[in-house]
Amino acid sequence: MTIGRGELWAGRIFLLVLMAFTILPFISIFTTALHPSGTVPNGLEWPADPQWGNFVTAFRVAEMPALLWSSVYLVIAVVPVALVIATMAGFAIGHLRIPGARVLLALFVLGLTLPFPGIIVPIYLVERALGIYNTRLAIVLPLIALYMPFAVFWMRAHFVSMPGEISEAARVDGATTWELFWRIHVPLARAPLASLAILLSIWTWNQFLLALVLVEDPSQRTMAGALGAFQGQYATDIPLLCAGTLLILLPTLILFVLFQRQIIAALLQGSVKG
């Protein structure tokens, strides 16, 4: 392709401007976080006397250790269970082709475009009736359920493409359906399972609405849910709010930098198949 010098530079400058648009907000909250607590600094100004202590204060008042533990706990409680039951369902619908598979698939696909605010009210009422409102289960169970449409759809897409000969060979050797699933098909599904695990972890970590409505104690919520509460408390102390926001973002940012290739790939595939 031949490209003129002018176009080359115009294009590069355009990209740099957009990258600045993306990055400047982060830089701005970083410099703001270093200003004395309680002041209202200007957007990008480097403080005369950087207050690194703000991060310590935010770490303490945001109860970061409890928060991190709570978020990790939720991811550990949600993701493995969701992966296992969605994979089993995807396997049965996509590979075993049980009778009613089409209806089941349609039922799950129905939930694919469901906006969470649409069913949050009855979820709240159902949880009150079940007595799990305001416990960690209050977030865990509906999240697993809300992931089912996508996760089942995703795993089914993998199992549909697996040739039937693999299973037939195993059957001749006398494998039961359960053995067939665990010994042969799950190991072969490692790639789509890994992507799905990344997606579900990010979505759980960032989930806000369910945490806000279903759990009152911020230290039992997700990272995003806690951040919302933190904002409510420290809305007027802007440097502290920025410091807390950065701290809460830090784990995500580190993971993204380390695994950016996998994360981007997972999010893209996730949307294409969904």
Partner: protein, 314 residues
């Protein structure tokens, strides 16, 4: 599935019958096992999604405060949603957000992806991809908080405007009736642009370069190529971008809740926020449910044509 070593042709008749029944039994057992595989997923999905879905529809026909007795009001809640300006306004706002969250990121994403594809295939392109994608992985709540500060009176946006001599324009962007909704929209552009760009870019990489060569031989310019080759061949990717971003716009909650809470007045109230307020502050479960049903229908009505258009072969 056929595992019997003896085939019916070479086995005695009695055995054939026995074999057939045992095979039928096996098939039936296998189906039951298959259903058992689906059962856990189906059960939790039913309790926490399908039942709430039906309950939402059910509640929408009642007046109910969540605790006391329910009284049947038929379609009155729907009528209220469609007649009260503040409630109908949330749906109008949702459509404005579609422009900001969906149309602009997809259109701009097409341009950015095209630029990266043409002038920055190397290192700059790789860095740009990563940087632009970054907002997609942080919680939307964080995006709301960050931009809440940037768009405030002494925030970065006003500082930049003053620096370039547009000081007259400065204001509290999220607190002004005229600018609050577009300001929320800008947050959406920031979050979703990278996602659209990267997705469209992967699609562009798949387009056969020979198509562009032959177009150029026919004397097609940059714009012609873009309109006649790039866009039609990216139909699928554009469809995916639109689907994801339209749902993000219509179901928006996190960003709005944190950045404006729906205000000033009802300037940025969207259905998600209004459902939350109606149900949990005003205890009008029926009205909240009617709005929720309308929201869910709206998403389907908007998404279906996009899906159909993008899946069709060019």
């Amino acid at each position: 599935m056929v595992t019997a070593v003896m085939t019916p042709e070479n086995s005695p008749p009695a055995l054939v019958v026995a074999q057939q029944t045992s095979r039928r039994n096996r098939a039936r057992r296998e189906h039951i096992v298959g259903w058992l595989f689906v059962l856990p997923a189906l059960l939790i999905y039913a309790v926490f999604v399908l039942v709430p879905l039906l309950l939402t529809v059910g509640y929408s026909f009642f007046r109910w405060n969540g605790i006391g007795p329910m009284s049947w009001v038929g379609l009155k809640n729907y009528q209220t949603v469609l007649e009260v300006p503040d409630l109908l306004g949330t749906i109008v706002n949702a459509f404005w957000l579609v422009v900001w969250f969906s149309v602009i990121p997809v259109a701009l994403g097409l341009i950015v992806a095209n630029v990266i594809h043409r002038v920055a295939i190397g290192r700059l392109g790789a860095v740009a991809r990563t940087v632009l994608f970054l907002p997609q992985v942080i919680p939307l709540v964080a995006a709301g908080i960050i931009w809440g500060w940037l768009l405030s009176l002494s925030g970065l946006v006003n500082e930049i405007l003053t620096a370039i001599g547009l000081g007259a324009l400065t204001r509290a962007w999220l607190g002004d009736f005229d600018t609050a909704l577009p300001a929320v929209g800008v947050i959406g552009v920031w979050v979703l642009l990278g996602f659209c760009t990267v997705l469209l870019l992967t699609g562009m990489a798949k387009i056969d370069a020979a198509l562009y060569e032959s177009a150029r031989l026919d004397g097609a310019g940059w714009l012609r190529e873009f309109v006649a080759i790039t866009v039609p061949l990216l139909r699928n990717e554009i469809g995916v971008c639109l689907t994801v971003t339209v749902i993000a716009a219509l179901a928006a909650f996190d960003i709005v809740y944190v950045a404006t809470g729906g205000g000033p007045g009802n300037a940025t109230a969207v259905p998600g926020i209004q459902i939350y307020v109606l149900a949990f502050s005003q205890r009008q479960i029926g009205l909240a449910s009617a709005l929720a049903v309308l929201l869910m229908l709206l998403v389907i009505v908007v998404i279906l044509p996009i899906q159909r258009l993008s899946r069709e072969d060019p």
